[in-house]
């Protein structure tokens, strides 16, 4: 049995932050959970899916974040506690509905967990979800440790139900993906029947229709709720203060940054000079609490990730109450004491403290960083950011690159988000020249494809993953078709949301809970939309290249090409080699004129290694996934493959 459904309340267990968040939701009796995969949030929905049967929960991977929020809202409207999960930039996608949901209000407790990724460890942006709480006017909680993660989510449902508003609980990578001790609470038994009531008064969202009109009334109502919630926050146990009664310096912090602050203060032995106000309820601010601490402090330092959210809110508050709090010096991101981009860590806090307080501290020897860098480049084996051995994307981009190069009109690829984003780099032969949000490559390509009237002759190609196609790829394709844009959309269909761990999507015959589902055929969808569709197996290099050349040279209007091949790491494929591959060293041309190490210098599948002493390529049998593609690229026919007999 999973610890997530352990009925022994009071027991302490080691949980990952995301598991603690899940446990909190289970303890709150969550019934409906929806989300879209995105690191570091994905394992929340995955863990819920695992216990869906046991805890009688409906769990889904939705087509995108906006739809996931809508699906979860339906649960709340029908009287079931519901949860929605996404990564930071997912909130941008969901934000339109979020704005309206804040206005209409919710019924049964509804919680949104956005997981931010400071330092963009697994992202192509450093987005901040906290501002959405202020922007759409809903309460925001930020757990500072694993225990709080569990307790806060549970409490968030109660708060949501009490005030009939969505509550945001924001996590960050270092909380979601680290582990700590959590004491478990009770798991409730509940069999609430879902029923959507709408017979009540038009103005009462609890019994009547759930709408946003009349807007001024609902807007005022939401603001009133926030004032009341702020009162509740004044006494929340999630806001804690440690330090002297009148600190020289007050650190105001939240989330994982509170741990860095505690560590820094303790390392510098400043416990009797510096106080730490850790806020768990960060919007709306518990104003009285914050003011009283500022009043007693000599100066204030904000430690937070990513944007100066607390800093700005507290400064506005301090200015409004300057007679009470007095004129204080404020340090943070705005005056540059704390870096304004990238992850926070204890070193940054130590640096800030030593510069403000004037104490000396050298945690690391001065030349540590330099030595570490030298060691990294000389001692550790070089590992480039690349596709896995046997990855279909390498084969796809090989053909895309070569076709565009042959065409010789400076064609280019507009990309978006997925493993294939790496095609910006050598891994994908530097093919991608624009990369932004999900589906944006195709939207940008749709625009480029209309610039022929201004003399643009460059072929325009976009790439989009299968999951991305459903998420945000269809509208730009429809746009390109309707507006007669000359572009080719290549759908890299590797049968799953590979980058985040093979979550299913609507193109597959399985749902989040592992049940059989109806699959939507991408090719049929594109055809029905009005695009010409060609399908190819990217492992068939010659065939794919021929089809690509034909459409790049002769195609007009919006066209779709589907390159379909299962991801090398997919559970279906993993560990199974299709081919046994070897290099006939007598045929290998190596660095001679006629090859110059095409396989290990350019193609660079990690399964191929250069034997410098022997002057030939060879296969690393352990790493090689047996896709057999390198056989087709070798100009000397030196790479031999034989089908593995099953």
């Amino acid at each position: 049995m999973s610890v997530l459904t352990d009925k022994n309340a009071g027991k302490t267990a080691l949980l990952m932050g995301n598991e603690a968040l899940v446990r909190g939701a289970l303890e709150a009796g969550v019934r409906v959970a929806a989300g879209y995969p995105g690191t570091p949030s994905s394992d929340i929905i995955e863990n819920l899916a695992k216990v869906a049967d046991e805890r009688n929960i409906y769990v889904e991977w939705s087509v995108n974040e906006k739809v996931s929020l809508e699906v979860a809202a339906a649960g709340s409207f029908a009287g079931l506690r519901s949860l929605c999960v996404m990564k930071q930039n997912g909130v941008n996608v969901a934000s339109d509905f979020l704005l309206h949901l804040a206005l209409s209000g919710t019924r049964a407790g509804m919680v949104l967990i956005p997981c931010d990724d400071p330092g963009s460890i697994s992202s192509v942006n450093e987005g901040e979800s906290r501002h959405f709480a202020r922007l759409v006017e809903v309460p925001l909680l930020e757990p500072g440790n694993f225990q709080e993660a569990r307790e806060m989510v549970r409490w968030a449902f109660e708060l949501s139900e009490q005030f009939r508003t969505l509550v945001m609980v924001r996590s960050v990578t270092r909380l979601s993906h680290a582990s700590g001790n959590v004491t478990l609470g009770e798991l409730p038994e509940s069999d609430t029947k879902a029923y959507f009531r709408f017979d009540g008064n038009l103005l009462d969202a609890q019994t009547g229709p759930v709408i946003t009109a009349p807007v001024p009334m609902r807007h005022a109502n939401q603001q009133k709720k926030l004032k009341q919630i702020a009162e509740v926050f004044e006494t929340s146990k999630f806001n804690t203060y440690t330090g002297p009664e009148k600190p020289e310096l007050l650190i105001i912090t939240s989330s994982a940054c509170s741990l860095y602050s505690v560590e820094a203060v303790s390392l510098l032995k400043l416990e009797d000079r510096v106080g730490i106000l850790k806020l768990g309820t960060t919007w709306p601010l518990p104003e009285k609490l914050v003011k009283s601490h500022i009043t007693k402090a000599g100066a204030v330092l904000f430690v937070e990730e990513v944007l100066p959210f607390l800093e700005e809110n507290v400064k506005v508050l301090a200015l409004d109450s300057i007679e009470e709090t007095g004129i204080k010096k404020y340090y943070g991101k705005i005056n540059g004491t704390i870096p304004s981009v990238n992850e926070m860590n204890p070193d940054h806090v130590i640096k800030a403290l030593t510069s403000i307080i004037g104490v000396e501290y050298s945690g690391m020897p001065a030349d540590y960083e330099q030595k570490a860098n030298i060691a990294m480049f000389t001692k550790a084996p070089a590992r480039e950011l690349t596709f896995c051995p046997g990855c279909p994307h390498r084969a796809s981009f090989w053909s895309i690159h070569n076709s565009l190069a042959m065409d010789n009109r400076d064609g280019f690829v507009c990309g978006d988000i997925g493993c294939y984003t790496m095609a910006i780099l050598g891994a994908g032969f530097n093919s991608i020249k624009t990369a932004h949000a999900m589906g944006s490559g195709t939207g940008i390509a749709s625009g480029f494809g209309k610039l022929g009237m201004f003399g643009m002759e460059q072929p325009v190609v976009s790439v989009c993953g299968d999951s991305t196609f459903f998420h945000a790829g269809m509208p730009p394709l429809v746009n390109a078709i309707h507006n007669g844009s000359d572009m080719l959309m290549i759908i890299l269909d590797n049968r799953g949301t590979a980058m985040t761990g093979f979550q299913p999507h609507p193109g597959l015959e399985v749902d989040a809970m592992g049940n059989r589902a109806d699959a939507t055929d991408i090719a049929e969808v594109c055809r029905a939309l009005g695009a010409t569709v060609v399908t190819s197996d990217p492992f068939d290099i010659a065939g794919t290249q021929e089809k690509l050349m034909d459409t790049i040279e002769n195609g007009k209007g919006a066209r779709v090409m589907i390159l379909r091949q299962i991801c090398a790491l997919s559970p279906e494929k993993k560990g199974k080699k299709q081919y046994e591959v070897t290099v006939d060293t007598s045929l290998c041309r190596g660095t001679d004129c006629g090859c110059d190490r095409l396989c290990t210098r350019v193609f660079r599948c990690p399964g191929l290694v250069w034997n410098k002493a022997g002057g030939h390529a060879q296969i690393d049998e352990i790493i090689c996934a047996g896709c057999g593609v390198c056989t087709d690229i070798c100009p000397a026919g030196a790479i031999k493959r034989s089908e593995v007999t099953k």
Partner: protein, 370 residues
Amino acid sequence: MQLAGSKELVSGVIKNDLCIGCGACVSLCPYFKSHNGKTVMLFQCSRDKGRCFAYCPRVEVDLDGISQYIYGRPYGTEAMGNYITIRSSRAGAAAGLKTFQTAGTVSSLMMFALGKGVIDSAVVTARDGVKGKPVVVTDASKIPGYAATGYSAAPVASGFNEAMNAGYKKIGIVGTPCQVNAVAQIRTNPMETENFTDPSGMVIGLFCTWALDTGAFLKILRDKTDIASIKRYDIPPPPAGVMKVQSGSGTVDIPLTEIRGAIPGSCSYCHDMTAEFADISVGVFEGREKLNILITRTRRGEELVQAAISAGFLEAETLGDKDISELAAASMNKKKRALARLALENKINSAEGISVLRMNGEILKQLETM
């Protein structure tokens, strides 16, 4: 000859509008490809010396070295290069040709050479609309299918590389002077490969004053005719001043002044009108409908022509002095224009960097003042 690699080839030739798309650098390795008459490099190669550079007829062409190899003497001042006999000719009845460009001399000779085993393979040019593509033929009866010429510059020399890759040892090839010069360089073994033997069996050169860039040519044709159904196109003798293009939608006349817009810049650096390093060179006998001019330059070339005449594959007569001097004048004209341009742009015998041509400075001076 100064050897370099693909980097210098790309920067010095391809990016410099000197590439004629001859294909000599293609089919050697995975990097250079020819597409629609243009030569492109797919990925960078890190070698500092390579066959791509060594074979290219637009960079570091050592005229004396090649002449020494083929004729056993340095490059001279003759307008049409070294030769044995100049004749007028046409295909003989034994060849049974139905279509050809001028008078079928080239196709007859190729058929004959392949049939007699003088060559073990023949590199000729297949046409797809206006695009040309080399094919390696080993069956003599297939040769007539590739008769008649396209005016687009085609990667014919890559066909020679392909025939070498396939292991042929007596390769026959028909090409324009640039393509013939590429093949001549291949034959001199510039990379000094061990156990090298000259893989050519017979090189037939076509006279050429200019070719057309496939892409630019297509652009001109696009709104004048149905490109997909183009069957044939000819330039009738002066004073017509037009190109006649026959397609499924009928025949259109396109003014030569317009067609000239599609001549690649590279042709203006070409000093060779008569394919001076071929075994046999063939062209149009201007003003004499249905006759070729046929120049034999090497012993094996002359032997082939004589045998073809005996076998009824060729009909030929020695060309009169007046016609020879007219041809020489045209040939010298092209040579001097190109040499002047090369000299002006410091692309011949340049002391620094890479040069298009290298030759004896004295001979160059004499040519310039002739």
